[in-house]
């Protein structure tokens, strides 16, 4: 199709601007009034579209902004906190880690493959936009109850979408988590995280553009896909949301790969002044962002935007969420140099406008002006709500001693736990992800027989041509956050800190992905406020600041909210990857200890849920002083070579942690410790704990006593069986652990696979 054929002004009339239209775009009556006040007139159709996406929850954070401000975002490693495309931290040697996590929940429910794929694509663009080469992807997935008729299809589609996109682009998918709970039945969560590597002196920002500079469009052509996607992501689902399918974007990982290489090559020159990817709200948000951050105006000639469909109007071009597109401000005169590099990679390159000094966003097409909005009020007067909230209900207390192991015994319950959907091996998922491409992966996902032959509590990826490595993890325990949002918020940060620590790395900073229900409901707003308070307290205590994040609200279907799920993506660094330890038992005859105090907290434990069928009690409380103390101790001991394996104690408690270490190392153990109350001791989920293995028990005990860290011996690594009062072979444990998910995906009877061994 020739460009001339595209450039005919369509004859159809745009709808009249009314309050009803504004409401259908997601604006409230007061927001619509404000739009008219800012413009001093009725908006055009294009302008209304632009206001509505910029003021959507997804783009404006209007319900969460007030509370996000309370989070700590500075620290000695922080180069760039929230507000840019991704956070940037100092990892030494003049290098930086650039990272962020972002949700693609709603699209992934409507169209699992494309929704998940474009989630991965979008977050990678946020990272390489800043000049960083993506070196690792992680993902946190939450699906509905396995028995729900849609769950299996969603798992299959989401995993295939992540695999299809990430593998093709050639960035290793090295970690993540997958949980199942009925609260996600109508609203699964897909949170994707990318970590990139950049030189500190080559980081690119959205800010910094000046007047009279060319604005360049690079990447795929613009089509009609994803129009109003940001608005869809800011609304509750009703039944029948499948009709939203056209608002889901379609991903092209091959173009993304070309775009990465082309942008990173161009960034080696000095042509780019400012750059922004076209993510949610597409060309609108990228143009507004560049104008707002540079305090300049922008004129775009939309006729020049590469278009994939005919007869497009400015409304469609500005709101399209077509993927794999970038907007750049170039140094005047460098257009030809830039064009040569972009076209070498067979990508579209078009000068589509220039910057001005009047701080207006002006859009021309077909010889007419379609939009003239003053940028400062569009951004600064975006609605900000202090939504009413009610404090969460006090959780009910339970008596830990009242719950005993079942008649199947300790090992019977252990088998059931390690085969339950939340703890069962996720091999069926991660074997579809290439975790090895780029050749730097030290610890890959899973427990036993992993892709990189080793695994740890965090993924570990070495920095090219250096000995240092980044440790990365994704964590949150939604059932804790639901029972006690404040402690649950703390726990998510603390577990991230522990997982990084358990490899020997120093936790540096986090990104958060806040998935909640409808903030217009006071009890949901109460969850958000309390969870953020808890999160902030933990970040401050652990010196673990938040450098980027994303908020996903309205995760409800027909009035039912998801469990609050503030996912934490943590990043740490270890100066020599050879000092890192995995979770596997490495040798027989080593002593097994638990570090940290075991009180036997069974509230909200998996034991209570899976063995007693109860989701009740308070979440375990997090003693942040103990977290810090124990974490510092663990790290010091790993780095001085005293510890040969380390695993944090989380879901399922101590015995699950020990079993996972045995399965990973294919080595058994003899447990000598006799618990007074077996269920709470072995399955309690007290925080601030690690299981460690050492060949020098006396020295470790001595070191712990010096700094007052609680330490207790559990047993010795030995043989091929897990031996308590009874015993079970490690290979049997592994078989049970590995079986649930493939059986489930192949539709083999659930009950059968859970009870058989």
């Amino acid at each position: 199709m020739s460009q001339a054929a595209l450039k005919q002004k369509p004859s159809t009339q745009e709808p009249a601007i009314t309050l009803e239209l504004a409401k259908s775009f997601g604006l409230s009556e007061s927001e619509f009034t404000l739009v008219k006040d800012i413009l001093g007139r009725m908006p055009t159709y294009t302008e209304l579209g632009i206001f509505s996406v910029m003021w959507s929850e997804h783009c404006s954070y209007k319900s969460s902004r007030l509370h996000l401000k309370k989070l700590p975002t500075t620290g000695k490693c922080v180069i760039q906190g929230p507000g840019e495309n991704a956070g940037v931290i100092d990892i030494g040697d003049g290098q930086a880690a650039v990272f962020k996590m972002e949700s693609h929940n709603h699209p992934s429910y409507i169209e699992p493959y494309q929704g998940a794929a474009t989630g991965v694509g979008g977050i990678m663009r946020d990272v390489f936009t800043m000049g960083a080469r993506p070196i690792a992807n992680l993902n946190a997935l939450r699906f509905g109850d396995p028995s729900h008729p849609k769950t299996r299809t969603l798992v299959k589609g989401v995993v295939a979408g992540i695999s299809g996109y990430g593998n093709c682009v050639g960035v290793p998918t090295v970690g993540g988590e997958t949980n199942f709970h009925k609260s996600y039945n109508g609203n699964n969560l897909v949170n994707a995280m990318t970590v990139g590597l950049a030189d500190q002196d080559k980081i690119y920002y959205a800010r910094g553009a000046g007047v009279g500079q060319p604005i360049v469009y690079v990447g795929s052509k613009t089509g009609r896909d994803g129009i109003h996607g940001a608005t869809m992501a800011s609304a509750e689902f009703g039944d029948g949301n499948e009709e939203n399918r056209p608002t889901v974007q379609v991903g092209d990982p091959f173009t993304e790969k070309l775009l990465i290489e082309a942008c990173l090559e161009l960034m080696q020159s000095d042509a780019i002044i400012s750059i922004q990817d076209m993510g949610a709200a597409g060309l609108t948000s990228s143009a507004v962002e560049i104008a707002s951050k540079g305090e300049i105006g922008v004129v775009l000639d939309l006729d020049h935007v590469p278009q994939r469909e005919i007869n497009m109007v400015p409304y469609e071009i500005m709101l399209s969420e077509s993927q794999e597109r970038m907007l750049m401000i170039l140094k005047p005169g460098s257009e030809n140099k830039a064009r040569a590099i972009i076209e070498k990679w067979d990508l579209d390159f078009a000068v589509i406008g220039h910057t001005t000094d009047d701080q207006h966003l002006r859009l021309n097409m077909y010889g007419e002006c379609w939009c003239d909005i003053p940028v400062p009020p569009l951004v600064d007067q975006a609605p900000l709500y202090d939504r009413p909230s009610v404090p969460p209900k006090a959780p009910e207390k339970i008596d830990n001693q009242a719950f005993d192991v079942s008649d199947k015994g300790l090992l019977g319950d252990l088998k059931k736990l390690i085969a339950c959907p939340d703890l069962a091996s996720k091999r069926w998922i991660w074997e579809q992800y290439d975790s090895l491409v780029m050749g730097e992966t030290i610890f890959s996902p899973g427990v036993a027989n992993t892709q990189a032959l080793k695994s740890g509590d965090a993924a570990l990826v070495k920095i090219p041509n250096k000995d240092k490595a980044l440790a990365m993890s994704s964590d949150v325990t939604p059932r804790y956050v639901e029972a006690n949002p404040f402690e649950g918020g703390k726990q998510a940060v603390a577990e991230s800190y522990r997982n990084i620590t358990a490899t020997g790395a120093t936790p540096l900073a986090i990104t958060n992905n806040l998935n909640f229900g409808n903030p217009e409901k006071p009890e949901i707003m109460g969850q958000i406020v309390a969870a953020l308070d808890g999160m902030g307290e933990a970040c401050r205590a652990l010196d673990y600041p938040i450098v980027s994040g994303n908020v996903s609200l309205y995760n409800e279907t027909s009035g039912r909210a998801i469990q609050p799920t503030p996912t934490i993506g943590g990043v740490g660094v270890i100066s020599d990857y050879k000092q890192a330890v995995g979770l596997a038992f490495t040798k027989e005859g080593h002593s097994i200890f638990v570090i940290g105090e075991t009180k036997g907290h069974l509230g909200q434990s998996l034991f209570l849920r899976e063995i007693h069928g109860m989701e009740k009690g308070d979440a375990p409380h997090v003693d942040l002083t103990a977290e810090k103390l124990n974490g510092d101790f663990i790290r010091a001991q790993i780095l001085s070579g005293e510890i040969s394996a380390c695993h944090d104690v989380s879901d399922g408690g101590l015995l699950v942690a020990v079993a996972e270490m045995a399965m990973a190392g294919k080595i058994g153990c003899v447990i000598e410790h006799k618990a007074d109350h077996a269920a709470s001791f072995w399955f309690g989920e007290d925080q601030a704990r690690y299981v460690v293995v050492t060949d020098n028990p006396e020295r470790l005990k001595q070191a712990a006593s010096v700094v007052n860290v609680p330490i207790m011996k559990l047993g010795i690594t030995y043989g091929t069986e897990l031996i308590l009062d009874e015993k079970i072979s490690v290979s049997d444990l592994t078989r049970v652990h590995e079986r649930w998910l493939p059986d489930y995906m192949n539709n083999i009877s659930l009950d059968n696979s859970l009870t058989a061994s």
């Binding site: 093709c168 074997e431 491409v437 050749g439």
Partner: protein, 229 residues
């Protein structure tokens, strides 16, 4: 030994290959862009892994017609050694330099995992450092690695010792369970009839460098270096 790795749009394992070759040979391979029409002077050409052209058409089909491929095919026919891995192997079968086709994995899913391979013919420039029947563990990472040939071609591959590696278990038995993708006769890699070209789906280059947790791909690269030194 001088080597050249061909880079196509969508290639993504060229760095892995570069690190492995450099580690074993001590010389940095050159990267050659697919739009180039001439190759540098080299003893070994490599078609690396990735998703050339997104693999939107049949895997490797587009890349097999890139400008540089004319030169690669010419040189390969004249005897310059050619190693083709994963997406490179898919391109190689598209060129017809070795027989066969690579179909979707039997599970219809992308699979990344460690597999065991048995070296079948250790009399070649690619495999001389392996003992016959030696088992090595290296990863695979592909969605379309299910090697297929018809019975006659299989017979001729066998008769002419053109099978390089077969998937097997830890003990070297080529069982159905150890076949990760449904490849005929558990074939993981093959030679051309003169053994100057080898194509394989697994990634020996990811089991070479010091920081890799496995190192069983090393003899393959040592063989090449020794033969072409």
């Amino acid at each position: 030994m001088k080597s050249a790795i061909i880079v196509f749009p969508g290639t993504n394992r060229e760095k892995d290959m570069q690190m492995a070759l450099e580690h074993v040979s001590g010389q940095t391979p050159s990267l050659v862009w697919h739009k180039d029409t001439s190759l540098p002077n080299c003893d070994l050409m490599v078609l690396p892994g990735g998703f050339s052209y997104g693999d939107y058409l049949r895997c490797g089909a587009m890349a097999a017609h890139s400008p540089i491929m004319k030169e690669v095919i010419d040189r390969a026919k004249k005897g310059t050694r050619l190693l083709a891995v994963c997406n490179g192997f898919q391109m190689l079968v598209e060129t017809g330099l070795v027989p066969g086709a690579l179909l979707h994995n039997q599970s219809l899913k992308f699979i990344c995992k460690q597999v065991h391979l048995r070296a079948e013919n250790t009399q070649t420039d690619f495999t001389r450092r392996f003992a016959k029947g030696q088992v090595l563990q290296v990863p695979i990472a592909h969605g379309e690695g299910n090697y297929f040939v018809n019975d006659d071609t299989l017979k001729s591959l066998q008769d002419n010792n053109q099978i390089a590696f077969r998937y097997c278990d830890e003990d070297g038995q080529a069982t159905a369970d150890s076949n990760p993708n449904g490849s005929i006769y558990n074939i993981a890699g093959v030679f051309n009839d003169s053994k100057t070209i080898m194509g394989m789906m697994p990634h020996p280059e990811d089991s070479v460098v010091t920081h890799a947790n496995g190192h069983q791909g090393i003899p393959l690269f040592q063989s090449i270096v020794e033969a072409l030194a």
